[in-house]
């Protein structure tokens, strides 16, 4: 090689960075006919009841493929079992990313499991989309630009209760009890963000309990003695049931906003006593199959038709199927918007550029994201326990 050629080569090498596009696009897991999507969920172990969500996704992508795929590409959906064990999630997600070479991860379930892979997927720049967990930390586009949640976060729900209390009961003297962990603290922070400086004026008593406690009866007594007339509770079902029963038994009747984690009739209301829970307020964002209002609802009928054709053996009363059907719409919408540019950069860009309706969300609630808005669902509707059922009331409330 002549020296001149070498020099020219070096010159070209030096010039290269200037003529290269600012961001190199990474395309992984995509061919002309297929896109690979990775997913983990507990199909076995204690949390295996969540497995229906993965089952539903597999069935949905089968339907999509039967209809010809998205923009002409079939979806190769690889869903693996992690038994809700974070160490196993790391192993399975590494398999998906490094061996199966998926384009993206969709709807990975669980807070500890997603925490275990949070840093890894962001270092690898793998889109980590529409997670199946209500923690608020997934909405942090500055530090974790490759991770985005889907369902309303506990933080959002806290903000919504704050807004409702301000509207419905100005001058309320409120009390808060929350579980002393991520889940409970998200509510505390939501209330604080909504009320700002007023938080200390509105909330005259704030107590916590540990998930390992046997009972929270003594906390309920102190909450009552504080003179509060309003209560927000961020508890798991076992403690919500205790709270409702104890408050009733000692004759305390605050305006009670209860985390929708505890909105289950079987796990909370019945153990507490349905009559003792009358008036308790919670919130929803998905339509409930058993609600007579949605008997002939177009969105729910679409879902029912899907269930009948693709998951005929599934329990139609399992709300996990409705949740899965909603979340997968955002995934499909993102891929549709991507068109033919299925680089990881563009997938993430489109996931953070959504505005669409979902048939199984309550009327007035829709999905919207933006480059700095990683909270796809920010609205909920309040519900009140009538003694026999949850009754929705008021309009849709938004966190901001």
């Amino acid at each position: 090689m002549k020296r001149r050629t070498v020099l020219a080569g070096i010159g070209a090498g030096l010039a290269m960075p200037h003529i290269r596009p600012a961001e190199a696009a990474t395309v992984v897991g995509v061919t002309k006919t297929e896109i690979k999507i990775g997913h983990t969920i507990p199909y076995s172990g204690n949390a295996s009841s969540y497995g229906v969500i993965g089952k539903s996704h597999s069935a949905y992508f089968k339907m999509i493929n039967d209809q010809g795929g998205i923009n002409g590409r079939k979806v190769n959906f690889i869903s693996l079992d992690d038994a809700y064990n974070p160490a196993k999630t790391v192993e399975q997600v590494r398999r998906l990313v490094e061996q199966d070479k998926v384009a993206l991860l969709f709807n990975v379930l669980g807070t500890p499991t997603n925490s275990a892979i949070h840093r890894y997927v962001n270092q690898r720049k793998v889109p980590h989309l529409f997670l199946s967990t209500g923690a608020d930390k997934w909405a942090n586009p500055k530090d974790f630009p490759w991770t985005i949640g889907w369902q309303p976060s506990y933080h959002t729900e806290g903000q919504i209760y704050a807004r409702y209390i301000q509207q419905a009961k100005p001058g309320a003297k409120a009390a808060l009890i929350y579980q002393n962990d991520d889940f409970g603290k998200d509510y505390l922070n939501g209330l604080k963000d909504a009320l700002k400086d007023d938080f200390n004026k509105v909330f005259i008593k704030v107590l916590t309990y540990e998930a390992t406690d046997a009972t929270i009866d003594s906390q309920v007594v102190s909450l009552k003695e504080s003179g509060a007339d309003t209560l927000v509770s961020a508890c798991i079902p076992k403690f919500s049931a205790q709270l409702i029963r104890k408050a009733y038994d000692i004759g305390w009747k605050p305006l009670h906003c209860m985390s929708n984690v505890s909105a289950s009739v079987g796990a909370t209301i019945n153990p507490a006593g349905p009559e003792k829970a009358v008036g308790v307020i919670s919130s929803q964002y998905l339509k409930d199959h058993s609600d007579p209002d949605w008997k002939n609802d177009a969105g729910m009928n679409e879902w029912r038709a899907f269930m009948a054709k693709y998951i005929p053996e599934g329990d139609i009363n399992d709300a996990g199927y409705v949740f899965a059907y909603g979340a997968v719409q955002s995934m499909v919408q993102t891929l549709k918007q991507c068109g033919d540019d299925l680089s990881r950069e563009n997938i993430m860009k489109q996931a953070a550029n959504l505005k669409h309706e979902v048939g199984v969300l309550l009327p007035g609630i829709s999905v919207s994201t933006g480059p700095t808005d990683f909270h796809p669902i920010k609205q909920m509707q309040l519900t009140r326990w009538t003694g026999t059922t949850w009754e929705r009331f008021g309009g849709v409330l938004a966190s901001s």
């Binding site: 172990g45 192993e91 925490s115 275990a116 840093r119 002393n180 991520d182």
Partner: protein, 318 residues
């Protein structure tokens, strides 16, 4: 085959285990192999307690968790380099094991199994407990950084962690082999097989039972620390009761009173669940169960005893 021959083969095997994956395995496969080594050490700890010591422990997962958290807390809160956390994890879990070995003296058989089981059930909740939360990170757990290769070695983190874990594993396996061949090991087996006779021979039952528990915990704890470094995350949900049972399965499948059995057991518990899932997504648990039963049917003494029986037959045929 002579002794020096088999030693040579063993060394060859270890060198191959180090070199072959570095050249051929992907990052993900290296990660799996790293987990195999970590689990092998933990199963080894269990083999010492149960296989050699004859004491049924269902709570080995608790020692794994203590080792993992010791490493994680030292790295996160005290900026201790990852390699320096191992001796500390060994000492801490060894001490915990010794402390728990004391009741092991009084309780035998099923009662000990139950007590250790209770320990494994309690640990995840204790890790979430408020008093320790500043250290353990509560339910959030602790996220760890993956160690880079030192001295500018041309290895990526996965390759380095594998090599590092394998080296520690080899050292501890050699140590365990020497341990069971020593006076202590002989005393242990004597206690397991004929406690009365052993006592009459002057073997101090209490001392050796406690020691076993301590050593068993130590090996399992170091395995836990290595596992935490490889996974890069610890949380209470990582160490549920299922982990203890998994280690138990690894011990029985591999071969309880055998050092090499721990390696087969670890290979089994890392790869067979994935295999079961490949076969059927709907019922991976049932498939795993069937495989487990088949193994018990065809290799009742564990893989290690099956292999050594084959080896004997092979030699006899020559």
């Amino acid at each position: 085959m002579t002794q020096s021959n088999s030693r040579f083969l063993l060394i060859l095997f270890v060198v191959a285990a180090a070199v072959v994956p570095l050249v051929f395995a992907s990052g993900y496969q290296l990660f799996q192999l790293t987990l195999v080594v970590a689990y092998a050490l933990s199963v080894l700890g269990k083999n010492l307690v149960t296989g050699y010591g004859g004491q049924v422990s269902l709570g080995q997962g608790a020692f794994y968790a203590v080792g993992a958290y010791t490493a994680a807390i030292l790295m996160e809160h005290f900026n201790v380099p990852y390699w320096a956390t191992l001796p500390v994890a060994a000492v801490v879990t060894g001490m915990v094991g010794l402390a728990l070995g004391l009741p092991a003296l009084r309780l035998g058989g099923l009662y000990l199994a139950l007590v250790t089981f209770a320990m494994a059930v309690a640990v995840p909740q204790l890790l979430k407990y408020k008093l320790f939360e500043n250290w353990t990170g509560g339910v959030q757990g602790i996220v760890l950084n993956k160690p880079d290769a030192p001295f500018g070695l041309p290895l990526d983190p996965d390759q380095w962690v594998y090599l590092f874990t394998l080296s520690v594993g080899v050292v501890l396996f050699v140590a365990a082999t020497n341990l069971v061949r020593s006076r202590i090991g002989l005393a242990l087996m004597a206690i397991r097989d004929q406690p009365l006779a052993a006592e009459a021979m002057g073997v101090e039952l209490s001392r050796y039972k406690t020691l076993t528990f301590g050593f068993g915990a130590l090996f399992t704890g170091v395995g836990g620390a290595l596992g935490a470094i490889a996974v890069g995350f610890v949380s209470p949900d990582s160490f549920s009761i299922a982990l203890s049972l998994t280690l138990f399965v690894g011990m029985v499948i591999g071969g309880a009173s055998s050092i090499s059995g721990a390696v087969y057991g670890a290979l089994f518990i890392v790869f067979v669940p994935n295999l079961a899932e490949e076969i059927s997504k709907a019922i991976p648990g049932a498939i795993f169960g069937v495989i487990l039963i088949l193994f018990m049917f065809f290799a009742p003494g564990g893989i290690a005893s099956l292999l050594s029986a084959q080896m004997r037959r092979f030699r006899a045929a020559r």
